[in-house]
């Protein structure tokens, strides 16, 4: 695996610079993403704590609301059918707002009153007080549930985003950075190889030159022994001329 999985790039100085820049970019991105993941995680845990808390509160509130329903039934008889038949328009509606955590938009629900009470006249004959209490209880239950719903939505959204961010962090840490590292190592080894080749070539040329000179010297010495002095003979290629202009 090592040395195999790398970017297809020609090993050159330019490519090396490019890779170095990419490595720096990847490391920076990794750091930033990690920070983002941490921020999200923090928020996530906070929300989780709140959800569990709210769920327990919800249990109590619902119990109380159910109890007040029983009370209302006791005083005003069976009102179930009347209520179920007379539904028209919702009085409590939900508005969505956006909250922003580290670049992630979380929907936040908010309940608001829209229009009048449909059941204004319910319980007019008897049990009006109980009914009013019942309505109030259920309205507070609705408020609590809306709050819980926004927590839960944030929870689901954050969960998704955290998964994605962690996946990216891991991908950069375990795939992208090692790949760039390997590419860099490959480029460096290739460049070293080239350098060694170059060095060897130079050495070889020097050797050849030395050999040639030794040969020439030997020839000169031989000629000298034969009585021909070639030492002072000017080479035609050597421009031994001083400035002869003046």
């Amino acid at each position: 695996m090592s040395g195999k999985d790398r970017l297809p790039i020609f090993p050159s100085r330019g490519a090396q610079m490019l890779m170095k820049a990419r490595l720096a970019g990847a490391q920076k991105g990794h750091g930033l993403l990690k920070k983002k993941a941490d921020a999200l995680q923090m928020r996530f845990r906070m929300i989780l704590g709140k959800i569990i808390e709210t769920k327990t509160v919800m249990g109590d509130v619902m119990k109380e609301a159910a109890f007040s329903l029983a009370e209302a039934k006791f005083t005003s008889g069976d009102i179930n059918q009347v209520v179920l038949q007379n539904v028209t328009k919702a009085q409590i509606k939900i508005r969505t707002k956006k909250d922003n955590v580290a670049g992630v938009t979380l929907p936040v629900f908010e309940s608001y009153q829209d229009g009048g009470d449909t059941y204004e006249l319910a319980g007019l004959a008897r049990g009006g007080q109980q009914l009013a209490k019942l309505k109030k209880n259920y309205q507070s239950a609705v408020k609590l549930l809306v709050e819980l719903a926004s927590l839960q939505t944030s929870f689901v959204t954050l969960d998704e985003v955290i998964k994605i961010t962690n996946r990216r962090v891991n991908a950069i840490e375990h795939v992208i950075i090692p790949r760039i590292d390997r590419t860099l190592a490959y480029i460096i080894s290739e460049l070293d190889e080239l350098e060694r080749e170059e060095f060897y070539r130079l050495k070889k040329i020097q050797d050849k030159k030395r050999e040639a000179r030794a040969k020439a010297d030997a020839k000169k010495a031989e000629l000298l022994q034969q009585g021909i002095d070639v030492r002072e003979q000017a080479n035609i290629l050597d421009e031994g001329d001083d400035d002869v202009l003046f």
């Binding site: 209520v83 919702a90 009085q91 939900i94 508005r95 829209d114 009470d117 259920y138 609705v142 689901v156």
Partner: protein, 124 residues
């Protein structure tokens, strides 16, 4: 569907026994739109799981509903459908009913929370 409710004011939907529905309707969340579709479902003794399932899916498909509240006993009946519902909106809330206390270990969201907390605890 009136235009106004379509654009900003979203609704809450209830699936539950008669008492739960009546309570929330008195709280003022009930609405019947022009197609005579209500945003609540009263589950009777002889309502089958398939009917609840179908109703739940209908509520999920409606885009004017932001929150679906469902009694936990009925949520249990269609647990697979709820577990499959992963989108943030509409949000599914499991609420206790009069006869049955709330059991947080069964809640889909809290189950997911448990599943998430463990691997994150293991991380690093």
């Amino acid at each position: 569907m009136s235009n106004q409710s379509f654009e900003e004011g979203k609704l809450m939907a209830v699936i539950g026994d008669e008492d739960t529905c009546v309570g929330f309707l008195l709280g003022g969340i009930g609405e019947i739109n022009e197609q005579r579709q209500s945003n609540f479902m009263v589950v009777e003794k002889d309502t089958t799981a398939a009917q609840i399932d179908e109703c739940f899916k209908r509520f999920v498909a409606r885009d004017d509903i932001a929150i679906i509240m469902i009694n936990q006993i009925y949520a249990d009946m269609i647990r697979t459908t709820i577990d499959k519902h992963l989108l943030p909106v509409p949000t599914v809330l499991e609420i206790p009913s009069k006869q049955h206390a709330y059991d947080s270990s069964k809640d889909s969201i809290l189950k997911r929370a448990q599943g998430i907390l463990k691997p994150t605890g293991r991380r690093r």
